[in-house]
């Protein structure tokens, strides 16, 4: 105790060496936050997930970045969320697949102009045992009627994505309101395409998916394509520059360069040359 008082008198309540250690510890702690400082250069694309999950961007972006020295950052979310994020100004380019919503986005002034970019199609997948005999369906309308008649499990995205919008339109065209069967045979996952496919695998359900995600999906297990090739299953992708008049920070120059490249000869050729599992996943159809 006496020692303590003596020390305290000499140095104040805290001895000098301890004070030094405190200082060093404090400076180290205060320095930690600077670890993660990094600048984001280039442009942000608000994108649907299929183009990212299938590996298309891994194929395209290095080619574009080499040609133009513009860094492209991809935020992959469902089409509905991508459109809402874009309207808030959180990006420079929008790349999604819900044509009427895209047109509305431009009409409302959030986007400059919409371009067709590429297409593929949707397929109905389901358990190999095919309890609703989809493989005998005459068209997609008939396929959905069979599912609802058999009350076969159906996994819906339920997340306002492009695929979800398409699915609802198909049900509507078939004159069926599946929401009546919600939690009975119609299961809305509220998740992305991959997560929904994982769920469909888990419960042996039918599911509508874009072909690109399906082909590159690695956990197919007992699921296979049971209905395909009907015109209503067409899947068009579009690309839009977010309007710099609404959001002045939008990097319109770089964003437009990216769009021009994508709908131009080089980009279209690069899209066509992308293969996954030996198959072409996206078919360029931009009109020059």
């Amino acid at each position: 105790m006496y020692q303590r008082f003596a020390q305290a008198k000499a140095d104040g309540p805290i001895s000098r060496p301890v004070l030094w250690r405190m200082l060093v510890t404090g400076v180290l702690l205060a320095g930690l936050p600077f670890l993660a400082l990094a600048d984001r250069a280039g442009i942000v694309i608000q994108s649907t997930t299929s183009t990212a999950n299938s590996g298309l961007y891994d194929h395209l972006l290095p080619l574009f970045e080499k040609a133009h020295d513009i860094k492209v950052n991809v935020v992959a979310v469902g089409t509905g969320q991508a459109i809402r994020n874009a309207a808030r100004g959180d990006g420079d380019v929008l790349l999604v697949h819900a044509e009427s919503d895209e047109k509305e986005f431009v009409r409302d002034g959030w986007g400059v102009r919409r371009f067709d970019l590429m297409f593929n199609d949707f397929v109905l997948v389901g358990p190999a045992s095919d309890p609703a005999s989809l493989s005998e369906a005459e068209n997609v309308r008939d396929a959905l009627v069979r599912i609802s008649r058999e009350k076969a499990l159906f996994a819906s995205r339920g997340d306002d994505s492009g695929t979800h919008k398409k699915e609802l339109a198909l049900w509507d065209a078939a004159g069926i309101d599946p929401s009546d069967a919600s939690r009975d045979w119609y299961r809305e996952t509220g998740s992305g395409m991959g997560a929904t496919l994982n769920i469909a695998v888990g419960m042996g359900a039918y599911c509508l998916t874009d072909r690109a995600t399906w082909i590159s999906f690695a956990n197919k297990r007992g699921l296979k394509v049971l209905y395909e090739d009907d015109p209503p299953l067409f899947n068009q992708y579009g690309i839009i520059l977010i309007n710099p008049k609404r959001h002045p920070h939008v990097n319109a120059l770089a964003g437009q360069k990216f769009i021009d490249w994508m709908i131009g000869k080089e980009g279209q050729r690069a899209i066509a040359s992308f293969r996954s599992g030996g198959q072409q996943l996206f078919f360029p159809n931009a009109s020059p």
């Binding site: 020692q3 303590r4 008082f5 020390q7 305290a8 104040g12 309540p13 805290i14 001895s15 060496p17 301890v18 250690r21 405190m22 510890t25 702690l29 205060a30 320095g31 930690l32 936050p33 600077f34 670890l35 993660a36 400082l37 990094a38 600048d39 984001r40 942000v44 997930t49 999950n53 961007y57 891994d58 950052n73 991809v74 935020v75 992959a76 994020n85 808030r88 100004g89 959180d90 992305g192 395409m193 991959g194 997560a195 496919l197 994982n198 590159s216 999906f217 690695a218 956990n219 197919k220 959001h247 920070h249």
Partner: protein, 240 residues
């Protein structure tokens, strides 16, 4: 469970070959979460100490609020930070959305309540232990707080670990505010979520195994520092 063994072999081959993408993702995970821990300590330790030894109005409410904020779901924090940093939000002009900085902000908000609550408890106990000593010397409040924080540093190390564990393991917040952008904001947890959504469950699990190994290493490191320091400090503390 055959997948698990193949996940282990994927994990070890990724580590063995020092896969460049993996190193980048692990590096960013550590940077973001350590930054968040640093910031939350700077905020949480003084705040926890103030609640522990201060006698002011609103002390009890602060305590209850910080305790309940510990249960805040990461995805809600992510949403809050997104709305704040979005171009249409109040801090949109800063252009921080989809950067590691945004992720640090979200994780800091997530773990600061934990730091406050645990630090308060540690310091409260120490304070009553040291009450006599503080009474015996005329000591200012600032010195008292610094002394308590310093003397409680090994207990507070556990606080750091709790915060770090929550930060590095959460996916909901960093997914929303970081956007899981390749080579920019992709961390371990968002990469795991991505691989799961691609149906590559074995790679996803392999990344999970690596994340666990990382947490194990950090904990081992601190476990080795702690007793050595603690033994070394005993004599110094006696003369102090």
């Amino acid at each position: 469970m055959q997948e698990l063994s193949s996940s282990f072999s994927i994990a070890f081959s990724l580590i063995g070959t020092l896969d460049a993408d993996l190193l980048e993702i692990v590096g960013l995970s550590l940077k973001v979460s350590l930054s968040a821990v640093g910031l939350s300590l700077l905020i949480g330790l003084p705040a926890g100490a103030a609640i522990a030894i201060g006698r002011f109005r609103g002390r009890f409410s602060l305590m209850v609020i910080s305790n309940s904020l510990m249960g805040m779901p990461p995805v809600v924090i992510g949403l809050l930070v997104y709305l704040a940093l979005s171009r249409a939000g109040p801090f949109g002009v800063l252009g921080l959305l989809y950067t590691p900085t945004a992720m640090v902000i979200a994780q800091t908000l997530l773990i600061t309540p934990i730091v406050i609550a645990l630090a308060r408890q540690t310091i409260e106990e120490l304070n009553s232990e040291y009450a006599e000593y503080f009474a015996s010397i005329a000591i200012s409040l600032g010195y008292r707080v610094i002394t308590l924080l310093w003397e409680g540093r090994f207990g507070l190390l556990t606080v750091c670990l709790a915060g770090f564990g929550r930060a590095i393991s959460e996916v909901g917040a960093v997914m929303i505010v970081g956007g899981n952008i390749d080579h920019l904001t992709r961390v371990m947890t968002t990469a795991i979520a991505l691989e799961t959504s691609k149906g590559d469950l074995e790679l996803a699990m392999a990344l999970g195994i690596i994340l666990m190994l990382l947490a194990l290493m950090v904990n081992l490191l601190l476990a080795f520092i702690r007793p050595a320091e603690a033994f070394g400090k005993k004599s110094a503390a006696a003369t102090y």
